[in-house]
Structures are given as structure tokens and as C-alpha cells.
Subunit: 265 residues, 2 copies
């Protein structure tokens, strides 16, 4: 178990990585990300793909985290401070008083993920962190093996995406395709059936019977998946009431993944 | 069509109702609410249950709203100002440049809604505006006739709930039960079958076949519905992967409403 390093001065350079994290979140930092709260920290500590770099804990939370801290490697610094100092460091009130800086140590390729996952999600241009987090939360809830992202998707390791996912972006493995890489050809090579979700889909979702392995394709609300991609794959639509043809993309993922898990062959 | 009233001074008392709306949103204002953006404004103008009190429009948006403004009663003031003045009035950048103050003019009772709606949602202790908005969006998408709220639910007319719902809180009629009012007895009186959603539900959702009329009961994530209520009604659960037994309540509503609409008798 690492030793606890007390921090009294909000300007202490040792905790620079935690300074004004709301701002930093907007710009991102190469290879590092911020995890918040106990549930996310548990997933981080239990992960083989990610590794904590350091922790910043409000003193009042230390006792309740005892067991979890004991699982950390000895060389991970655990900084501890009073809540008021914590909030000054972070730049806003962090009621949960638990932050970690972490790093991705294992970056699987799309091919590697497709070799092991049964079903996968493929996301195109999902640029909203709430939606990204919500989709990963559903992927974890329904046991999806991997998420593949096109180059226009936002980072699942952004602070808000992790938080909204309840830590699922640390659980469900993901990989990003290169620009111009043909997702459908990739799925075909791995003998995974591609199925696109679209308001203009050919078939109603509830009549769909999944194949042995499925890649479910989701695009951003509004623009949706590209016509070029839709022209090359089977597509499903969700029947909706007249005049309000609008579902959130994370909700759509939940509906489709529930159907897949209920009717999986 | 109302005449346009130009506003040059952000401190003009005629637009006091729009001042620092982010703060006001937190405290609420008896009987009035704020609608943002074109899509929501369309639903407001088309509604019989709500009535616009006034509008504040960025000058650059006026031309594109011409048709919509023509549908307004003549006595609804339409204030117009430059975007910079708009943002100073509102207290933050409102890129869409479209705000309205509105009032609920028709408040149906739970009994009145149950007389006309086929299926209804009953929400208990949904206190998060994102979730409230998401649930209404799904209710509209799947054509649910009414939403009933217990006294611990937040207000579907809060700015953020309306925005997240894409205006659905202005479309799907809702009513709030009094504290202590027995929701299950109410549904029974109207011959509507009650079905609760719970992670500990008796039956898997995908095996459920809806009755002619259904009341779907949803509680807040975490605490869920009260054991007293669950003991008195049929309950459904959504099958999830081991170790991540967690769905967002708005996503849950989407999954259940999709099932209901697909298998409605």
C-alpha cells in the first residue's frame, strides 16, 4: 500500500496535474486522463488496460477507501488534503473528494478486439461526452465485448464521459479506426454481421434476429450515419410515434442492445 | 402577428424576466417557465396547455422565425436585440438566440389524463432534470399518452428538462399526484394495469406482453421504487451482464417503451 502524502498548500507543485481540472478537461492531455469518484476508482484499480499515476483524496474520505488503496502499487503517490484545499486545487467543488490521474497502458487494435469480442458497437461521429458515456454504460450493462470509434468520435476517457458511463469506459475495451479505414470491410474480414441503426432503416428493430456475431453501427443524432455507409449494410429502424421522430443516441443504443441481448442466438 | 420591440439596453426593465436566467432556473418561478430554441418554441406556439407570455429573440434570428412569429397572438410582446445584448441579459452566451417566457394555462388532473390516455408512465422521485427530460423525450417518441409524477419528482418545465426533452415536456401531458395519494389505486380505478420496473423485478422485460392499458412505474436510479409499492404490483427487470447492474433511468424508459410499443395488444 502506498504511503499517504499530506498536502496543505493548494499551490504545492506536486499536485499540479490536478489544478483547474475543469479547464484541462477541455483541452485533453496526451495519454493521461482524470477519474473521479469511488466507483470509477474501483474500475481503474481493477483494470489491466489502465494504470493510476497518482491519487488526490480528501482527508475525510481516506478511511472509507482503505481497502481500495491497499490494492494500489506502492509507487503510486496518494496525496491527501482537507476538502477546502481540494476544491481550491481542482478549481471547483468536488464533493466526492476522490480524483485520480491515470494512463492507458494497453491500447488494443481494432483487429485484436474483433478477435476476442462476440458483438461490438461501431460509433461514428459521436462528439458529445454525455452520449459517449451513456453508450458505454449500456455496452457494459449488456455485456458488449468492444466499442470501435471512427476518427470523429470524442475521447471516451474525457472526464465527463467516464463519469456519465459510471466507469464503463474503463471496463469495455475500445479502439479507434484510422481515417479512411473501412469499418465494414473490417467486420466482414472478422465474420461479424454489420447492422446499422437509422431512422430510415429497412427493417423494424423488433423483427430483427441477431447473427452469431454482430457489429451495431450508430451515428450522431441529426446527421446520422453516412449515406455511403448505409448503402452498403443492412439497416434497422425503431418504430416511433408520428410527429416526434427523435431518440437520443445513447437511448437508442440501450434499446438495440437490450434487443440483441434478449434475442442473441 | 405581434410587433417587434427593439431592446438596446441590457438593463431595460421590460426584459427583467430574462435576466440571469441560469440563476432563476435554480429557484423556479410560480407558474412561469423558460423555453429555449426554435424546436421548443414551435411546440410552445402549437400547444393548447401552454401560452407564451413574451419572447426575446436575437435580431439575426428574426427573419428565420417569421412564419412562427406570425402564429403568435398579437398581444405577446416579441423583444429583439443584438446577440451581445442578449447574452448580457441572459447572463451567459445563448447561441441559439431564442428565448420565451411561458405559462401553463391548462393543468389537467391525474384522473382527467387517465380518462384519455391509453398507456401512462408513473415517475417516482425522479429529481434529475436530464433524466426527466430524457424520459419525456422517450414518452413522446413512443406515443405515451400521459406522464404522472409523484411529489418528489422535479419540475418537467425547468429549462434544462425542457431542453433535454427536445420540447417533449410541452407535448406529453403530465400531472402531479398529491403526497400520500395512492397511485396503484388510481390506476386500478381506471382499469390500467400497473407494471413496475425494478432490477429485482419478477419477470424479464422481454417476456412481458402488455395489457390493453398499462401504467409503467419508474423510480430514481439508486433507491428505485419503494418496497411497499413493489410489493403491491407486478414487476419487470431488464437482463444485464454480470457485474455491471446499472442502467440510466431515461435509457430504461426507452427500452421499456420500445417493448411496449412493439408488443402492444
Amino acid at each position: 500500500m502506498p504511503s499517504i502524502i499530506p498536502i496543505d498548500d493548494p499551490d504545492d507543485p506536486r499536485i499540479d496535474a490536478y489544478r483547474d481540472i475543469r479547464e484541462r478537461d477541455l483541452v485533453g492531455r496526451a495519454g493521461l486522463f482524470i477519474a473521479e469518484g469511488r466507483v470509477v476508482l474501483e474500475k481503474l484499480v481493477g483494470s489491466t488496460r489502465f494504470r493510476p499515476v497518482s491519487l488526490l483524496i480528501a482527508a475525510k474520505r481516506l478511511a472509507s477507501l482503505d481497502g481500495l488503496l491497499a490494492e494500489l502499487p506502492d509507487d503510486v503517490p496518494v496525496f491527501a488534503c482537507e476538502q477546502a484545499v481540494f476544491d481550491r486545487i481542482a478549481g471547483f467543488p468536488v464533493h466526492r473528494g476522490i480524483l485520480a490521474i491515470a494512463r492507458q497502458v494497453d491500447k488494443p487494435t481494432p483487429d485484436a478486439l474483433l478477435e476476442s469480442a462476440e458483438d461490438v458497437l461501431f460509433l461514428s461521429a459521436i462528439a458529445n461526452h454525455d452520449n459517449m458515456g451513456g453508450i458505454f454504460r449500456n455496452a457494459a450493462a449488456f455485456g458488449i465485448g468492444a466499442v470501435l470509434l471512427d476518427p470523429d468520435c470524442c475521447d471516451p476517457l474525457y472526464r465527463k464521459a467516464i463519469r456519465v458511463s459510471v466507469g464503463a469506459t474503463l471496463l469495455v475495451p475500445f479502439a479507434r479506426l484510422d481515417r479512411g479505414e473501412d469499418a465494414l470491410a473490417l467486420f466482414e474480414r472478422h465474420e461479424v454481421a454489420s447492422v446499422a441503426l437509422s431512422p430510415a432503416g429497412d427493417t423494424l428493430l423488433h423483427g430483427w434476429r441477431p447473427a452469431a456475431r454482430n457489429a451495431l453501427l450508430l451515428g450522431a443524432e441529426g446527421p446520422g450515419l453516412s449515406p455511403a455507409l448505409l448503402a452498403r449494410t443492412r439497416s434497422l429502424r425503431i418504430a416511433m410515434a408520428n410527429g416526434f421522430d427523435s431518440l437520443n443516441v445513447a437511448t437508442t443504443s440501450g434499446i438495440v442492445l437490450h434487443h440483441l441481448s434478449a434475442y442473441r442466438v
